[in-house]
């Protein structure tokens, strides 16, 4: 099977390790991975900040870049949700404005083929045990877009439970938002920070060595807060790691903290 990787702009520029892990994991499972280099960003920052029209060229680009692939796999719940939930809306609004036939058709053709990584593993490949080894105590933050918009449900937890050596501990208040929300984090910095502090406190209370998530934009926020926290205290043993890196980790090729 051949799939296209939709890396996402955040993973490409800031967290390549999550994208590299996704490639290694999928190849280990016998999937051929393509990286169409003309891809960039799904347009979520513009869309969620109120600049819908500025997302239109990016919707067309996404549709064009991935048009030949049956499956487009992405290690980001929020970018998958942006495509699946909002591209049809962008198409419909453009059509109502009289210029969007091409856009609406492009969105409709692309939307059902974009899958978040754990959806692809669980629903298409039908695997739960991906042969990973990760001997650490882990807690999982199910980001809002994955939890509520995509409805990932048990998929990520089932994958984590099947990892050898991994001890999964429950995150109290797991379903609560981490406070990132894209430009929300700078437009409402105090509320965003208060939410992030509560999320970090909750994660630290589990005693986990690793806080894991499937959405690097949330992990970017939490990591940035943890980094500030650590610079003040310098004693926190917790790492923040993308789910793909855990699933890619094996006994012969283990995860290591960069």
């Amino acid at each position: 099977m051949r799939v296209a990787l939709f890396t996402t702009c955040v993973n490409d520029a800031v967290f390549p390790s999550a994208a590299i892990a996704t490639v290694r994991l999928l190849e280990r499972l016998g999937v051929t991975v393509d990286f169409p280099e003309q891809q960039s960003c799904c347009g979520q920052p513009q869309y969620n900040t109120g600049y819908r029209k500025l997302t239109e060229p990016l919707v067309l680009r996404m549709a064009r870049v991935f048009e030949d692939y049956e499956f487009v796999v992405t290690p980001s719940g929020s970018c998958a949700a942006m495509v699946r939930d909002n591209y049809p809306r962008i198409g419909a609004k453009a059509e109502a404005e009289g210029h969007g036939r091409e856009l609406a058709e492009a969105a409709a053709a692309l939307t059902p083929r974009v899958l978040e990584l754990t959806e692809f593993l669980t629903d298409v490949l039908g695997v739960t045990d991906v042969g990973a080894h990760f001997p650490h105590r882990v807690t999982y933050h199910p980001s809002c877009h994955g939890l509520r918009m995509l409805g990932l449900g048990e998929r990520p937890l089932a994958l984590l439970r099947a990892v050898k050596g991994l001890e999964l501990v429950e995150l109290p208040g797991a379903e609560e938002c981490c406070g990132f929300g894209g430009t929300f984090a700078v437009k409402n910095p105090d509320v965003s920070t208060a939410m992030g502090e509560d999320k970090l406190r909750s994660a630290l209370s589990t005693g986990a060595e690793v806080l894991c998530g499937a959405d690097n934009s949330c992990l970017l926020h939490l990591g940035a807060m943890l980094s500030r926290h650590n610079r003040r205290r310098a004693d926190t043993p917790m790492h923040i790691v993308h789910l793909a890196e855990i699933l890619a980790s094996t006994e012969t090729d283990p995860w290591s903290h960069a």
Partner: protein, 485 residues
């Protein structure tokens, strides 16, 4: 007195900044919202047909809104036939004028009030006060707010920001100014506080000749109004006085009596987490020898027709004011209700207020951005209002207003870069190459808002694109050359 209004409120982020630093407020809100949230989840979980009920509620409301003109005329006809009088108010000023004139015509100088979001929306108490008429709030929490010269901060629990000790102090210090004083040596035991309120309010109920209410539902088929409540104080107001004036938003109409079957299940479980609320009062016009002899219904538009005209925004008119969205909202929990600057706080306020009032004022323009778009509100909404969808829709309106030039330019530049992957790749490589020079904090602009509490992320040694070229080269994936443009 009760003259406080929401005019001239600061933008949401500024008001919320103060709330996030108020440890007692944070603790009060966290405790209260999490308690109701958990109870609601249990109450809803008991019904295996909740999803169907929710869908039915959504469809009944959508159908009614589609034919609102016809149902309102039918309602007017039935209310009139049953002995009531119907008044139409285009905006808050007109509604306040109608109510003040009706009260003055009775010769009375005071009214008792049933808890009502609509009369808060139009600032009725302040308008009556300006006319020399005193309005007494009789809902326990509204009483606490009124005595404390405060503003409500929650739709269902207006005094959610107060704890028991604060309420005891407010009763002790303020009750005497409004009527019967608090008992000497009042404690903060809930039963003692309730008894103090009961004694204070009983005096008002027995004296009042005029009552003002809102309504949860109006039935077009029969001309019936419905008020749903927990305390019974509403029923006192709805049955004891001689004149009853109800101010109700036009979106509260339902076609038929049978539609209550759906909403009397959806509302209590979503709002108080009860299977059934203790008091449901229904009345149809007037009845000789039973209840008020005069009944006036003031039908309020105040921005609702404007909202109805918006294809995305109109779903907000389905709202039944249950407040489930407030109780699950992480932003409301930290910012508190006052930061929203209107009678309608929380996620529903962030989408309702800017549609009813427009997005011109500082606070109204900031409301659509007062959300991380986490979607918890949509998940619990009993009439399936997709609040995040409406928030983004309203953000688009605000972003098109003056004052967003710099942000628009930045977003446009980002789109250009994302639409030119070769340039994007060059920027990414340059950023990684210079990463040792990058600071963890920045002193100005949006970057400052980020780095006041968070570090800037460390960039990787190379972006993913570079890694891919090294490890997979030309073997696959780059056969999609950009077509000439």
């Amino acid at each position: 007195m009760s003259g406080r209004t929401d005019l001239g409120m600061p933008a949401f982020p500024k008001a919320a900044k103060a709330s996030t630093k108020d440890e007692r407020l944070r603790a009060n809100l966290r405790h209260a919202t999490h308690t109701i949230r958990d109870k609601r989840a249990r109450a809803v979980g008991e019904l295996d047909d909740w999803a169907l009920l929710r869908e039915a509620g959504k469809r009944i409301k959508d159908h009614t809104l589609c034919h609102l003109d016809a149902y309102l005329l039918q309602l007017e006809e039935r209310v009139t036939a049953a002995g009531g009088t119907v008044h139409w108010a285009g905006d808050a000023a007109e509604a306040n004028r109608i109510v003040a004139d009706l009260v003055k015509a009775t010769g009375e100088r005071e009214v008792v009030k049933v808890k009502s979001m609509t009369t808060q929306e139009i600032g009725l108490n302040a308008a009556l006060e300006a006319e020399g008429i005193t309005a007494y709030e009789t809902d326990l929490a509204e009483l606490i707010v009124q005595l404390g010269d405060d503003l409500p901060s929650h739709i269902l629990v207006p005094a959610i920001h107060r704890n028991r000790a604060e309420i005891r102090d407010i009763f002790t210090e303020q009750m005497a100014r409004w009527g019967r004083p608090a008992p000497v040596g009042l404690t903060d035991r809930p039963a003692d506080l309730a008894e103090a309120a009961r004694l204070h309010l009983r005096e008002k109920f027995l004296r009042a000749k005029v009552a003002v209410s809102g309504a949860n539902f109006m039935i077009a088929e029969t001309g019936t109004l419905v008020v749903v409540e927990s305390e019974g104080n509403g029923r006192m107001c709805l049955t004891l006085p001689e004149t009853l004036i109800s101010v109700v938003g036009i979106e509260k109409v339902l076609p038929a009596w049978q539609d209550l079957e759906v909403f009397l299940q959806l509302l209590p479980r979503s709002s108080t987490a009860e299977r059934m609320n203790p008091y449901t009062t229904t009345w149809t016009g007037t009845t000789d020898g039973d209840g008020p002899r005069e009944f006036h219904l003031v039908l309020l538009d105040n921005g609702r027709s404007h909202t109805l005209a918006d294809q995305v925004g109109r779903q907000v008119l389905r709202c039944i004011r249950c407040s489930a969205c407030l109780n699950v909202c992480p932003v409301y929990e930290r910012a508190g209700g006052h930061a929203y600057g209107s009678a309608y706080p929380g996620p529903i306020g962030a989408v309702l207020t800017p549609q009813l009032r427009g997005t011109q004022s500082e606070v109204d323009a900031s409301l659509p951005f007062a959300s991380s778009l986490c979607g918890a509100c949509y998940e619990v909404c009993p009439v399936a209002i997709d609040i995040p969808e409406v928030l983004v829709h309203l953000r688009e309106q605000v972003a098109a207003q003056p004052g967003h030039r710099a942000e628009h330019a930045a977003m446009k530049a980002a789109t250009w870069l994302f639409d030119h992957p070769a340039a994007l790749a060059a920027v990414e490589r340059a950023a990684s190459a210079t990463r040792a020079l990058h600071p963890r904090t920045l002193p100005v602009g949006p970057a400052k808002a980020w780095t006041d509490s968070r570090d800037l992320p460390k960039l990787p040694a190379e972006p993913f694109r570079t890694w891919w070229k090294k490890h997979h080269g030309d073997q696959h994936g780059d056969h999609h050359e950009e077509p000439a443009r």
